[in-house]
Symmetry: C2
Subunit: 128 residues, 2 copies
């Protein structure tokens, strides 16, 4: 019995939401295999690609890991803070950064399609 893409994606969103820390593709795979042992990496990667394109999940490029999008609305520019101690990831709306960013790159005439902003550091709990 095969599942449609939407069902797979929903499964993965459920898995992602079970923890506060980001999960790698292979950690997600491991969870899915508990109920469907035959799932292979491409299935997971394809679903994750769709989810990130839809904005339902974000990839933390610097960790090679994924988090569910934690906001109701579409963020113009997600700013992700990553605690290096506990792994907690929080999402902030970086829309207010856009004007400054645009003026920074205006001279080079670069046309930005995708913005990646990730901050590594310590969350309020771990920094204390």
């Amino acid at each position: 019995m095969r599942k449609q893409a939407a069902a797979r994606q929903a499964d993965i969103m459920d898995v992602l939401k079970t923890t506060k820390a980001p999960m790698t593709a292979y950690q997600i795979l491991g969870q899915l295999q508990k109920s469907e042992p035959d799932i292979a990496p491409p299935t997971v990667y394809r679903a994750l690609t769709a989810l990130t394109e839809q904005g339902r999940a974000h990839k933390l490029e610097s960790l090679k890991a994924f988090v569910p999008c934690r906001c109701d609305h579409d963020k113009s520019l997600p700013v992700l803070t990553i605690c290096e101690d506990c792994g907690l990831v929080e999402e902030h709306d970086g829309g207010s950064l856009v004007p400054k960013l645009s003026s920074l790159i205006a001279a080079s005439k670069f046309v930005a399609k995708r913005h990646i902003v990730e901050l590594h550091g310590h969350c309020s709990t771990c920094a204390a």
Copy 2:
């Protein structure tokens, strides 16, 4: 004959400077092996770690690739633009973003140690 770390790092900076596009660790390895066939991945990764810590090179997390730092001074916050067509990477000083970024995350009391800002899109040549 083994080389000291500083010499390795200089070799790698030379390799990185031969192209405008970013290079992966294994592309760098391939170049180095032309003159020293026995070099192995850890040698390259160790040198790249040192270079990025010193700020002499940057890692493009979203490409898993490296560029030499192209500025004279230490940037408070490097903003890297990546052309998805030709691979051109340019570096901009994002220092002016810091106040807005700080205020964005102030409520969460997150303490940022490392900022990653990468913009994917098209350079002036490819966008035209």
